[in-house]
């Protein structure tokens, strides 16, 4: 077990180093003039020369890589051209809102995806199955930015419910000010017992969360269906069935439990994907997270900011992958041996 964990950790670390090198290549090798893309278009010749020096472009490439890795480790992720702040501090202030959004989306996806997947497996090949499978494929085929606009059109424009911009109504800052502990409005409001803000924050959260949920919902529903069907097809379940147990009992007793195991894994993996999907959704809802940060950065040709976000999400992805693998190894001894 220890050996497995150690091996897995070493592999994870290797991938992280690879990720860093790949972002290095994107930031420093792909652009024709990395220094210019690092300081943005307005730089004076002096600033440009300084960037040239700071980025170590006058040094050998391996040396640059080492310096770059060192910078990342000690927290020097560059300075955003757009906000003029350190990229790392920008990320820290933007990440909570995105996490709040993605967690809400995943909760929605799980709440709907699991029952749908189960229904689909229960009535395999019949109308409910067909419907759920279609919905699941539609979920992963959905251009989320379009879904965001269409939902705004329906829920705000036509029905006149659900707000469309920001984490909560900023006018509330005057009547019921909210202290920012986590920068997740819902959490902060809960902690403070600030009901007006909580109410407003939940309203603001619904539409973007539903939009971000489309993709994980599809993935989770498919996953649950597949793993339930797989279990039900196994030898021991067939035996039970042959013994004359009613189908419903077989389903709930044997199909369900093992099917839920992979959900933990898939949810963790889908987390990073959903973070990337917020790039397309947050700007539409003026949601103050990483997504609108990226959208604003692409418009101001802000290379350090974009690389910073890329790095952050890739690391989140690798780490969540790692955790999933190790947790699963604990739960399922077969993995350790393979």
């Amino acid at each position: 077990m220890t050996l497995y964990v150690a091996k897995r950790l070493a592999l994870g670390l290797l991938v992280v180093v690879g990720v860093l090198i790949l972002t290095f290549v994107i930031a420093r090798v792909v652009p024709g003039d990395p220094a210019a893309s690092w300081v943005g278009p307005h730089a004076t010749p002096q600033e440009l020369a300084k960037a040239h020096h700071d980025l170590g472009l006058d040094k050998s490439v391996p040396r640059q890589v080492v310096d770059y890795l060192h910078g990342i480790v000690v927290g020097d992720w560059g300075v955003s051209i757009h906000t003029k702040h350190s990229v790392l501090s920008d990320l820290a202030s933007r990440a909570p809102a995105s996490v709040e959004l993605v967690v809400a989306a995943l909760l929605i996806a799980l709440a709907l995806g699991i029952p749908l997947g189960l229904a689909s497996a229960r009535w395999r090949g019949r109308a409910p199955d067909l419907l759920v499978r279609f919905a699941a494929v539609a979920g992963v085929s959905m251009p989320v930015f379009w879904l965001a606009l269409i939902l705004q059109l329906i829920f705000f424009q036509k029905l006149g419910i659900l707000p469309v911009a920001g984490q909560y109504d900023p006018n509330l800052d005057y009547t019921s000010p909210l202290a920012a502990h986590t920068h997740m409005a819902v959490v902060d409001a809960l902690v403070e017992g600030n009901w007006p803000v909580l109410w407003s924050a939940l309203q603001h959260l619904v539409l973007p969360a539903v939009v971000v949920a489309a993709y994980p919902l599809g993935v989770i529903a498919r996953m649950v269906r597949a793993s339930v069907l797989e279990t039900l097809g196994e030898e021991h379940v067939r035996m039970v069935r042959a013994l004359g147990f009613p189908e419903r009992a077989v389903f709930w007793r044997f199909g369900l439990k093992p099917a839920l195991n992979p959900i933990v894994a898939i949810t963790a993996l889908v987390f990073a994907y959903s973070l990337a999907n917020t790039f397309l959704v947050e700007a539409i809802f003026d949601w103050p997270g990483l997504g609108s940060y990226v959208a604003a950065s692409t418009q101001s040709l802000d290379t350090p900011a974009i690389i910073g976000v890329t790095l952050l999400i890739a690391i989140v992805y690798v780490v969540s992958n790692l955790i999933v693998d190790i947790v699963q190894a604990f739960l399922d001894p077969r993995i350790r041996l393979s």
């Binding site: 930031a27 792909v30 251009p143 606009l149 059109l153 397309l280």
Partner: protein, 293 residues
């Protein structure tokens, strides 16, 4: 991880026909996908105002609602939206085709080599794919597209760079599963050049899973390309790219609903069709594989 029962070709074909009849989702996916290809190929004949897919503008007729003359209405500079959506199919499918072709051309040989030779070659290639797969596809292509000048070509390159590792993995699995078989060992002992063994015996086995994977990927690539254009990192006006059209219509979507509705629906329909097709194919040809994307 990705093993496909090597059914004989005839049986596979028969299974396919049967599946098409039994699986309405696969059937509808295949039909719509075929229709999309037809629309893309004959776009100049289908589009009522082909010039509007290019640089033509007609500001006097801007923002007209859907009518018999303009079935999808017109955009802010008076271009016929239907024509642009029709031509958009060309762009999306061309991007998907180019990305898949380059991913397969890069990924499959690397994967075959990794699986066949094993050892350090395998380790190196697989660790490299691990690194690429540590990024959600949209994220890596976005970072790349952001440092390149925005254009359809560069968006295609950016997506291809994020896509090839999947094919390397797939081909490696295939190669590794055959590499240990007696006839391959025999060929090795007889001194048959590895390239020949790979082409004769290993590659054919990989074709089915690659086709399944490719049909599954078309939808994802179309979505990623549209997303890049939506963010301003892909196609530029007047290219009738669906994602770009949604982005341009954003300022009008509450008052002129057709501007975002139709191009966005086109993205959804295209991605949906290919995903249904891919899903169905996978179910028929490769029922055990679980996708992790």
């Amino acid at each position: 991880m990705t093993e496909v029962a090597a059914l004989p070709l005839v049986a596979r074909r028969r299974a396919l026909t049967r599946a098409l009849r039994r699986n309405p989702l696969l059937l509808s996916g295949a039909l719509i996908a075929f229709l999309l290809v037809v629309v893309a190929v004959f776009a100049p004949l289908i589009a009522p105002h082909p010039a509007d897919a290019g640089t033509a503008t007609n500001p006097i007729e801007s923002l007209l609602p859907p009518s018999w003359h303009h079935l999808f209405g017109t955009d802010a500079v008076g271009r016929d939206l239907l024509s642009r959506v029709v031509f958009g199919a060309r762009i999306s499918l061309r991007i998907a085709g180019l990305v898949l072709a380059s991913s397969i051309l890069i990924g499959v040989p690397l994967g075959l080599a990794a699986g066949y030779f094993g050892g350090w070659i395998d380790s190196v290639i697989m660790r490299v794919t691990d690194v690429f797969l540590a990024f959600p596809a949209l994220l890596l292509s976005l970072a790349l597209a952001a440092v390149l000048t925005p254009s359809v070509g560069n968006a295609t390159i950016a997506i291809a760079v994020t896509w090839w590792p999947w094919y390397a993995r797939l081909a490696r699995g295939q190669a590794a599963s055959v590499a240990g078989r007696p006839f391959i060992e025999g060929a090795r002992a007889l001194g048959v050049p590895p390239v020949r063994t790979l082409l004769r015996h290993v590659l054919p086995n990989s074709i089915t899973p690659v086709i399944v994977q490719a049909s599954l990927d078309v939808g994802g690539i179309i979505l990623t390309a549209a997303a890049l254009s939506f963010l301003g990192l892909g196609a530029q006006d007047p290219t009738p790219e669906w994602g770009l059209m949604v982005s341009q219509g954003q300022s009008y979507f509450t008052t002129q609903w057709w501007l975002v509705t139709f191009p966005g629906a086109a993205i959804l329909v295209a991605a949906l069709a290919f995903n249904l097709l891919g899903d169905g194919l996978r179910e028929v040809l490769d029922p055990r594989r679980i996708e992790r994307r």
